[in-house]
Amino acid sequence: MTRWVAQLSLDTGVTLEGLPGTAGRHLPGSVGGGDATWDMVGARLPDPGVRGVRVVDAVALALLCSARVSLDGARVKRTLLLRVRTGTPPEVQEQFESELAALPRHVAAIRSWALSRVDHSLAPSRWTHVWEQEYESVDGLRGDYMRSPYHWAGIDRWFDGEVPRSIVEPEIAHVFYTAAGPVLS
């Protein structure tokens, strides 16, 4: 079975309760994605089957590494969709992946997490990687995660176009929503 992350476009007033898996409207501060994220597991991504809900972007995940951390109740699920620049040497991409996967060691607010490549054989996509985390609250994402020196001094150099060895294209999708229960665990 494949894990999928889809970006949804929503008509005004629609609800996501009928969707299999987990879905939620994006919280303020989300950029680059649709109106909502839909996380689900299946051989393929089905049509939402809910009037007023359309899939505008879908990625099939090929898991690289992850960790599951027990957390009761609601949580914030964050997804970062990114694209590594075409032509990046494999060993450089692997170093980037290794350093990104070390972020949870530096940011205690990150609970369960997963780093995946995008499986383009199942669904063509403009993205190459998906970096997902769960937080107890949005403060963990907006505060602890963004304030970590390992993030802004270390990881961001892969993203910053002013840094000569950056490899991530400027277009990203940074989206997050409140989930009632586990998404990654």
Binding site: M146, R147, P149, W152, A153, D156, R157, D160, G161, E162, V163, P164, R165, P170
Partner: protein
Amino acid sequence: MSIVDRVTLGSDDALPWLDRLRASYAPGAARRGMRLAGSWWSYVGPDAVEVTVRWELPDVAAFWAMRRAAAEDESVRSWWAMTDAVAITRERNVCATA
């Protein structure tokens, strides 16, 4: 926090590049919240000079605001493309205050 740029150029190119940085890049950097805290140069070979430029930002929020502004500014991309056309090596490090 500080941002430190180190750019190695041919010795004839180094100080003209630094002049262009002050005239062309620094004003936009200031609008993005970066204060030019100092600049230095040193020979690193018979015909090569390393220029070091240090920028200051007041806090992490200012850093992320600067990053968003720079990503949307075509003149930033043009500046570094011009720099990379003449630079021998270049690096940028973002540093916490010790």
